[in-house]
Amino acid sequence: MTMEPLISLCLVGPRRSYAAGDELVAEYQLDAVLADEVQAIEASVLWYTEGKGEEDMGVHFFERRLPTDAEDGDLRPLRRFRTTLPSSPLSYAGAIFTIRWCIRVRLFLRRGREYLQEQPFTLGSVPAAARQETAATA
């Protein structure tokens, strides 16, 4: 039986809500996996939509690391990344769709195996919207 790798991902600091222009700092680390099993690791800060419509996504920060980018070819040790958050889109809980922000780490192992870990956060302070009237058209 193969053990699944452990991806530890966290936002640095107690906050889960950020203002536009704030600096977001996050850390991730791998465990329960051999160093030579890791093919690549991608860290990103992104927004995506959820709801009735098709999902849209926008990547604000993206970093892809290969074993050649790390000391001794080992991508497992603690890695910290930081980015300044943009002014839009702000997190939004709408009536028929939602905009969510998150940090995401995607791990690629040998033989095409892929693992993903994400941590949500809020950007801005737009209050939730209430439905008033709906009209659907084909």
Binding site: S8, R16, Q29, G53, L78, P86, S87, G124, V126
Partner: protein
């Protein structure tokens, strides 16, 4: 292990709940099989044609070329599909999106618009500030194009009524020849009812389009920021008696999604505020109705947002009810940028507690590993 046997998966836009690898391999196999089928069948067809030209099955004619076209489409679809699948293999959605963002940043058009870079998901307002107003800074364009809609309705009415005329002639001829077509005759009754409605509706639209004068909305500044107040000017030309005319500020969410082979749109109004309501008004060509009022944008308003399938639109809507005429509505889009109040972070005590607990557990797991 259970995921190997999952037959039904939930689709979340481009993401799926199933295994990406299994999906990609399945897709590659499908396109590969289609390509191989196309190549094998096409080469067999061509080879038989050259080696046994007398064969009745593959003789040159419409059938032969039809087969060539169909089989070539197999080869083309399979080949392109396979290449597309292979190119996407092993590339995450985030990496594709990051590459697309990087590519758009190199675009010369985007280079000329620094606003797009600072607010990439706020729709462009360039087309909204092209036209200067006479009373205020900008005249807003209408989001609808009544000319095209009228043309589409005219074409529909012409086609429907043209077919009605042909069927009427056939039915009349059958009666005159003493062999009445009963089904056609009865079918013509509801068909003519719809014909009458299309003619009435078309005339109504022509009256609205030509009889009513222009509705113009002007605004003191653009783009708009939440928490600020602006001036808006409304003028209605023409020669009509108006029972009521209203100006509204609205915010709508709009989403697009696929349902089977259909692409559907859904609109949902999330904010509506009346800015102006005027009672009976007489509009004359020499004296158009003109009024200026205040446009307050709520401090906590969501900014305008536009992505491929989801959007938040702000609009100024004019609703007019003329006497003896059908009511009409004209919409003028505006762009609202993120406001100071909504750009701030809000941390409630509950969130702080949750965040601290989450942080502790995550930090603990890292410490254990380290």
């Amino acid at each position: 292990m259970p995921r190997l046997f999952r037959l039904l998966e939930k689709k979340r836009g481009e993401r799926r709940t199933g295994s990406n690898l299994v999906g990609s391999v399945g897709e590659a196999l499908l396109y590969g099989a289609l390509f191989m089928l196309g190549v094998t069948a096409l080469s067999t067809l061509v080879a038989v044609h050259f080696w046994q030209p007398q064969s009745a099955w593959y003789s040159v004619g419409v059938g032969f070329w039809l087969m060539v076209v169909v089989l070539s489409s197999f080869v083309f679809t399979g080949g392109i599909g396979l290449i597309w699948t292979v190119v996407r293999l092993g590339i995450s959605a985030e990496r594709r999106s990051a590459l697309a963002t990087h590519a758009s940043a190199l675009d010369l058009v985007h280079e000329a618009m620094p606003r797009s870079k600072s607010h990439p998901t706020v729709p462009s307002f360039d087309g909204l500030t092209d036209s200067p107003g006479t009373d205020l800074a900008y005249r807003l364009p209408s989001s609808q194009s009544p000319g095209w809609r009228l043309l589409a309705k005219t074409i529909f009415a012409l086609l429907w009524n043209g077919i009605a005329c042909v069927m009427f002639v056939i039915a009349t001829k059958s009666w005159l020849e003493g062999a009445p077509q009963w089904f056609l005759t009865f079918f013509l009754v509801p068909y003519f009812a719809v014909s009458g409605w299309t003619i009435y509706y078309l005339l109504q639209q022509i009256w609205i389009h030509t009889g009513l004068g222009q509705t113009a909305v002007e605004i003191s500044d653009h783009p708009l920021f939440p928490g600020r107040e602006y001036q808006v000017h409304l003028s209605q030309a023409g020669h009509i008696d108006v029972k009521s005319i209203e100006l509204w500020l609205t915010c709508e969410e709009e989403v697009t999604y696929r349902q089977g082979t259909d692409i559907r749109h859904e609109l949902c109004k999330v904010f509506e505020q009346q800015l102006l309501a005027q009672g009976p008004v007489e509009v004359e060509p020499s004296k158009p109705f003109r009024v200026t009022c205040t446009l307050p944008i709520p401090a906590a308003a969501m900014h305008s947002f536009q992505s491929e399938h989801n959007s938040v639109h702000w609009k100024l809507v004019v609703r007019c009810a003329p006497a003896h005429w059908p009511e009409f509505e004209r919409r003028h889009p505006i762009v609202v940028f993120p406001g100071e109040a909504t750009l701030r972070a809000v941390v409630t005590p509950a969130q702080t507690g949750q965040a601290t607990r989450g942080q502790r557990s995550a930090a603990a797991s890292i410490e254990v590993v380290a």
